[in-house]
Each structure stands twice: as C-alpha cells, then as structure tokens.
Subunit: 206 residues, 2 copies
Amino acid sequence: MADTSDRRARRRAQTLEEILDLALDLMAEEGVAGLSLSAAARRLGIRPPSLYKYFPSRHAVYDALFERGQRAYLEAVRRGAAGREPGLAAMAASLEAGARWVMANQALAQLMFWRPVPGFEPSARAYAPALAVHDHFTALTAAAIERGELHPDAASEEGQALGSSLIAGLLSQQLSNEPDAAFEEGRFTRWVARLPGVLVALYPPR
Amino acid sequence: MADTSDRRARRRAQTLEEILDLALDLMAEEGVAGLSLSAAARRLGIRPPSLYKYFPSRHAVYDALFERGQRAYLEAVRRGAAGREPGLAAMAASLEAGARWVMANQALAQLMFWRPVPGFEPSARAYAPALAVHDHFTALTAAAIERGELHPDAASEEGQALGSSLIAGLLSQQLSNEPDAAFEEGRFTRWVARLPGVLVALYPPR
DNA sequence: AGCTTTGGCTACTACCTATAGCCTAAGCTA
DNA sequence: TAGCTTAGGCTATAGGTAGTAGCCAAAGCT
C-alpha cells in the first residue's frame, strides 16, 4: 500500500536531512547569518530553485535547524542529569552537558540563543523543546531546595534569572573570546563545573 | 590656506556621521546583520554607488560604528566611575553605567559584543577602546582589593573571567528576552546593581 | 584663468532569494 | 499493461544586494 510510497518519503526525508547538514556546514564556515541557499544547492548538486521543492524559504531552513538544535540540546541536558540524584549533582551534570553541547555545536547554539539572523523568528513548534529545557532546570532547582542544598529563594524569579545568566554569560564569553578552546581549558568553560558552588554561595541553604 | 578646505572637510565629516546615524537606524530596524548600504543611500538621498565615495565597503561602515560604539561605551563606564571612591563603589557605578549604555544602544552593543555580522572583524584601531575598558575594570578590581573589599583572588584570571561573564550574561539574557524593558524593571538588569554584592559573596575579603 | 579634486551620476558585473512554468521519470491505479 | 499523477529536477525571470568603472560638473585651489 503505502509501502513503495514509503521509499519515496524516506528518500525525501534523507534529502531534507542532507540539506540541513550542508546548511550547518555553511553556517559554521560563513557565519550563521551568512547562510546561502544557493551555496547549499551547489553542494548538493542541484540548481538553487530546486531546493525550494524541499524548503519554502531560507527562514524555513533556519526554523528546521532551530528545532533540530533545541531537540538535541534538550536531549543533552536530560542525558547529563540521567542517573544522577536529582538536585545539585544532577544540575551540575546537566549544566556541564549543556555547555559541552553548545561548544560542540556553536553555529546551532548561536542560532538558538543569540538570534543573529535578521527577521528570523522560530515557530512555536521549533521553540517547544526550549520550554522543556526550562522546566527541566526548574525541576532540578526545586529538587535541590527539597534536599536542603539550596535556599528556597533560589527558585524565585530572581534566582532563576541569575542562574540562567551565569551559564549564558560563561558560554557567551567563551564563544566570543576563545571559541576553539577545549572545554576543560577554556577560561570561561572551566567555571561551568563550579557553577553549583556559586549558586550555593549565593543561596546558602536554611 | 587649509581654511576653505576645512569647510569641505567639515561637510564631508558631517556626511560621514550622517551615514553612520542612518546605518544605526537601519540596524535597529532590520537587525544588525540586515544593514543594507543601498537602503542607507536611499535615505540619504543619493544613489547607492555614491555612498562608496565615503566608505569603501559595508564592512568599513560596520568598523566605523564599532569604533564609535567602543568609544561611547568607554566614556560611559568612565563617567559612571567618576567622582566615586575607587573600589567597589566605583565598580558598581561603572557596571551600571555600562549596562545602561548597552540597553540604550542595543544595535551597537550587539555589533560590539556578539559579532553577528559574517566576515566582519573590527580593525585594531576600532578595537582599541575595548582594551581601555578592560584596563578600567582591572584597575577598579585592584582598588577594591587594596581597600579590603574583595579577596585578592578576585584579580586572578578566574576572577576576571567570572566577573565579565556575570555582566555579559545578565545583559545577554535581558537583550534576548526583554529588550524593551526599562532598566529598573528588567528581570536581568535588576541584578546589575547587586553584582558587587555577588562578587563579595564569591570573593569575601581576607 | 585654468588645473585639481570632490562627490554626484549611469552602466554594469556578479551574486542573492524567490516565483513561474516546463518536463521527465518514478510510481500509482484501472 | 496503459495511462494518469506527482515528485523533483530544470530554465527563465524578477527584483534585491555589494561593489567597480568611468563620466562629468561644480567647488576649490594656485
């Protein structure tokens, strides 16, 4: 029935992924906002207009990459926490896993967290995993408070704002100043492992 | 002698500034990387190629804006500290002045601190004020340690990395999540006034 | 009065995104 | 098996961009 058609659909899905891979390469080479669909088409071996059979616009390519990135990032922070006691230990592991993912996927991370592409706004669908990431860290904070590892104020609006700014700041500085440094050697990423300690210093329990 | 020529030079300088102002408007409207020299020329009332009599390339416009921004930012952080006792008080005032400048000059700040324009690297000349900003904060940290307001470790590589990440993180989060919020109401900028307290908590004196 | 320079201009090249519409071959269906 | 449909190529084209070449008038210098 839809068996042979599946083959066609599978080939199409393969091409879609291939285009996204090429676009990612190009973004890494030319800068996130420097992506050219024509260049991607050339690398794929087709003429530029043919690429529009797969994506209706340049923004649609960005949106697909945004979603792919958000899903991968969510997966990374979840895997980081997996197997750890919920609380500060899981948060530490999760932050580090997320930071490592960002450093290993810089073009994607820039697209996701710094929005350097004029006019591009992610669709709700593409943005959805970001909400799950937020929930993930909220839950870990709550668990840490529950276990008496952090003061309850850490869960406040302020505490969450500071926490997210801490990790965002370290990564932003690392990316703009030493993008090629190994995670352990980076002047800023080296702090990531100590972030839970910083949180405890700022929100000591009890 | 060069007296009448001065008039010509002055007119030219005026036009240069006018172009930069228009470019800044366009960056605010269309995104930093979305600047079009053709659009700037249209607003100025000349044909696009004529604009190349003033700037040799689009990157040259970015470079001039980068330098203008760095100078203004340096001026802002210096004025913030002026009249304060050198040390933590001056640092607090300086951080806040800088943060206010960033929120009031978002397009410029993005160009300066996030480099969203593919292929654009600032010239040494344009970058020079950034080094002065760095020295400014290094001096304030040293003064704070001298006065016994911070532990000497705050001046270490690590301490400086954390300090710059803190302010960078808050601003990065504020810009991407609530760019239009008033400084006092911003979920992230509200923290700026408390940053010196955070530093003291992390690097308690003695 | 005449030379030089500035700052306009048009014309053009070489890219880009995106649309319109053609055509072939793969695949579905009677 | 024959014929219809559609996916996925293509060319041509519109209209945008950055940037170059080269012309020319007027301002300014000597």
